[in-house]
């Protein structure tokens, strides 16, 4: 079982460059999330999606865009990278069953993408 797969695992960008991070899940989950992890701050939500074709902003959306054209894929884009976006990025997915049941299900995480912007 692949679960949640993130591509690439490592990347170094120069300030102003653009890139796209890909997240793919094979569990037919409705909800997908992009988080960033910075020391001492836990994981903070960037954007999320509640289904194919829908996206919404999280806590720290500035400088990022996302798309969910297919249910299994969730893309995170950086149009003009800045050093402040140096971080480890995690994608997660979560199943949607009944509304009450949903809150009891855990999220499944990818292995992370370590991005450095110089």
């Amino acid at each position: 079982n692949a679960g949640v797969t993130q591509t690439p695992k490592f990347r170094v960008l120069k300030t102003g460059q653009s890139m796209t991070l890909l997240c793919a899940q094979d569990m037919n989950h409705e909800y997908m999330y992009w988080y960033r992890q910075d020391p001492g701050m836990g994981l903070r939500l960037i954007h999320y999606s509640v289904g194919e074709g829908t996206t919404a902003k999280g806590e720290v959306p500035d400088g990022y865009n996302v798309s969910r054209l297919k249910k299994q894929n969730f893309l995170l884009g950086l149009e003009s990278a800045a050093p402040s976006q140096t971080s480890v990025y995690f994608c997660a997915s979560r199943p949607q069953r009944t509304a009450d049941h949903f809150t009891r299900t855990e999220a499944f995480f990818g292995q992370g993408t370590r991005l450095t912007v110089v």
Binding site: G42, L43, L45, Y48, A56, F90, T103, A107, F109, G112
Partner: protein, 115 residues
Amino acid sequence: AQSVTQLDSHVSVSEGTPVLLRCNYSSSYSPSLFWYVQHPNKGLQLLLKYTSAATLVKGINGFEAEFKKSETSFHLTKPSAHMSDAAEYFCVVSAFKAAGNKLTFGGGTRVLVKP
């Protein structure tokens, strides 16, 4: 609104001694609570979860946590630390009707296990 506070950013224990990681939460709705572990340069793995059944929850690798509504706490414990427990631990809250049913993370507690 929901939030999580992990009261210790670092915890150091000797191998074979008990581990206690403290977590307090805030939620406008009846929450579900999770503990995740992250080993160095790895992804996040679920340790255990509370979903309004038993208040004492047992997880993997000998960990357990107790949900105390009156104290809004969900502390993680293990009776005897092992070297392999050295990792970062995250307390997470999720509540129905939270926007996007998102998971909100605490700041993390890094555990060091001394031989």
